[in-house]
């Protein structure tokens, strides 16, 4: 056993110098009580995580956005096309990273992607001169696809249904958005509106009738206050 004359303490392990004050340790009679003898892994070589790819991609997208703004300003065409580049980049940064993460709930992911893509469509429609195709056709189509996709997921993996039921219900409710838009005169295609609303209604009914208690308990846990 070794001891430090300055700190008045004994030191276990293979130290030659006192870990507290740095002075050379002197040999000493052990105190005579049992010590646990802990060892720790040598972590001196461990380096902090540094994700080069991520940083490179971030740099390239910032560069791309910056260059397109610059070109757009220097070569005026009367059309702000650089906004499309920026919106697309924001969309990619918002959607791709969650996709690469391990999925906990695919239905939740689907709902998130549907909503984000709907926003992208509205933004694009707005940038290239509002003609309303996003609210009339793109959003209803996306919602229909979402409702059908969640239904298909439930059919193919019935054991996961309790986890998905909340999102099926929410997606069903979102199916009525085009109807609301139609009443405010934003949406023009009554056919698309009715198809989406019908699918949404079906989805909500299925969850309410078949989900009964599971839906209720899921609501209670998500909305407890």
């Amino acid at each position: 056993m070794k001891a430090c004359d300055i700190c008045h303490a004994q030191v276990t392990g293979t130290h030659e110098f006192c870990p507290l004050c740095g002075k050379r340790l002197q040999p000493a009679e052990p105190y005579g009580y049992t010590l646990p003898g802990n060892r720790y892994p040598d972590l001196s070589r461990i380096s902090a995580q540094y994700n080069f790819m991520l940083r490179l991609l971030l740099f390239l997208s910032l560069l791309g956005g910056g260059v397109s703004v610059l070109v757009n300003v220097l070569v005026p065409t009367g059309f702000w096309w650089c906004l499309i580049v920026i919106v697309a980049e924001v969309y990619l940064w918002l959607t791709i990273p969650p996709l690469l993460r391990r999925a906990r709930n695919y239905a939740k992911r689907l709902l998130f992607q549907t909503l984000l893509t709907a926003l992208l469509m509205v933004a694009l429609d707005f940038i290239i001169g509002w003609r309303g195709w996003s609210v009339s056709y793109a959003i209803p189509s996306l919602l229909c696809a979402g409702i059908v996709a969640i239904a298909a997921m439930i059919v193919f993996s019935r054991t996961n249904w309790p986890q998905y039921v909340f999102y099926q219900f929410t997606m069903g409710l979102l199916g009525f958005i085009p109807l609301v838009l139609y009443f405010f005169g934003l949406s023009t295609s009554i056919v698309m509106v009715l198809i989406t609303a019908a699918l949404g209604l079906g989805s909500v009914l299925v969850t309410v009738v078949f989900g009964d208690r599971s839906l209720k308990s899921d609501f209670r846990r998500r909305f407890h206050f």
Binding site: L43, R221, F223
Partner: protein, 430 residues
């Protein structure tokens, strides 16, 4: 008939204190503590894994994952299996649920030591000790199958009952008029930092009996004595050189289970601040010890603690808080927490006795307890005891070991036989 989701999938609310942890946790602020038990022989990983799988169902409060609700977080039953790993990082790193099947705790081993690292959302030190004890007992029964009687093996050593996931704060709540518990800004310990995420760990071992005798002689408890030693260490190395108008505020968590006769598996602690004004440059240790003792006796009372917990529970009941959507609530909590955190200079927690029951005690050589550091409190102190050995552990982000040295010197000066052990981050390596 198909099993109902209600029976399959339990969930419970976070206890009143736990609500703060998911909000304030980040890579730099992990809110993770580590409890370790050192055994007489190297740990066999496959047996440890088996032991964990066997005892986890007895701890429903640990087999959970964290979810977001519209108004509050909640803990949902997690039916996956956690995996043990060999220790390969610094202690008390933030827990990334995605890396361990969404569990909020981590079981690691190294050589003879079993570590359990727990995110504070799950429980406090007392709850964590029960979990570690159960794991160690189960492991020892697997590792030495012939040394235990059938009766001992059949017994469930330590378990949680579902009823214990009741919130002790809420069940002891009494409406209160008190509106604030904020104290002023505290002295901030400063010093050059270690590189990146490096954490220096120093354990100091002291035989329990002489320590008890010393404290009895001074008429104080062990916690009071160690608190005074810590204050002395900071005073002699930092405050004497650089006097501050801010007092040294030492944050001490207080276990409320005995005080309120409530046995819960969730968090059930409150805190006190031992606040010492240290502007004078000729303070004596005995003056500090007397002041620490006085504040302990004043501040730890059922009435004081009741007011404190009732205040926080009461604010959670406030409709203006209750029905605010979670993201907004989190934002407000974060700001309040940032303000509150400025009061604390350092934290010291004594989890008490961690010994295993009689048939298992002989296979254990020691235990230790570690808290995670945060930039605002770059050094934290944690203590426990097992098998007649008191262990005070320092976790530090600071390059200099002067505070640790001053504390060790002080205790050795008082006649205690101190032995130190480090994780290798010290003078030789930095």
């Amino acid at each position: 008939m198909a099993k109902r989701i209600d029976e399959q999938n339990h969930w419970h609310r976070l206890d009143n204190t736990a609500n703060i942890f998911p909000v304030t946790t980040s890579k730099n602020e992990s809110n993770v503590f580590r409890l370790s038990m050192t055994l007489i022989a190297p740990v066999a990983p496959e047996l440890l894994q088996q032991a964990l799988e066997m005892m986890l169902p007895r701890f429903p409060g640990f087999a959970v994952l964290l979810r977001r609700g519209a108004f509050w977080f909640y803990l949902n039953e997690n039916n996956a299996v956690p995996t043990i790993r060999e220790e390969s990082d610094y202690p008390c790193r933030a827990i990334n649920p995605a890396q361990n099947n969404d569990f909020l705790f981590r079981v690691t081993y190294y050589d003879k030591r079993i570590n359990v690292e727990i995110f504070h959302v799950l429980t406090d030190g007392t709850g964590g000790v029960q979990f570690l004890r159960a794991l160690c007992c189960q492991y020892l029964m697997l590792a030495y199958p012939t040394r235990f009687t059938e009766e001992e093996k059949a017994k469930h050593w330590y378990e949680q009952h579902v009823a214990e996931t009741n919130d002790g704060y809420v069940s002891n709540y009494r409406p209160t008029k008190k509106t604030s518990f904020s104290i002023g800004k505290g002295y901030r310990i400063r010093g050059e930092r270690l590189l990146l995420d490096t954490l220096s760990v120093v354990h100091t071992y002291i035989p329990l009996q002489p320590l008890l005798a010393l404290c009895r002689g001074k008429g104080v408890t062990i916690t009071q004595y160690v608190t005074a030693c810590i204050a002395w260490g900071v005073y002699t190395t930092q405050l004497r050189k650089r006097p501050s108008k801010h007092p040294l505020n030492m944050y001490l968590p207080i276990n409320l289970r005995k005080l309120f006769g409530t046995n819960t598996a969730l968090n059930f602690f409150s805190n006190i601040y031992i606040s010492l004004d240290m502007q004078a440059d000729d303070l004596h240790f005995n003056e500090i010890l007397a002041e620490v003792k006085k504040q302990f006796e004043e501040k730890i009372s059922r009435g004081n603690m009741l007011e404190k917990i009732s205040y926080t529970v009461g604010s959670g009941y406030n409709p203006a808080v209750r029905f605010v959507p979670l993201p907004l609530k989190n934002l407000a909590l974060r700001i309040m927490f940032k303000q509150g955190a400025k009061s604390s200079s350092l934290a010291f927690s004594n989890v008490g006795d961690m010994s295993l029951p009689a048939p298992f005690a002989q296979y254990v050589t020691g235990a230790s307890f570690l808290l995670s550091c945060v930039p605002r409190e770059p050094i934290k102190f944690a203590a426990c005891s097992a098998n007649g050995l008191f262990t005070l552990s320092f976790a530090s982000m600071l390059r200099s070991q002067e505070i640790q040295q001053a504390i060790v010197q002080k205790m050795a000066e008082d006649g205690l036989e101190v032995t130190i052990e480090t994780n290798g981050v010290d003078y030789e390596s930095v």
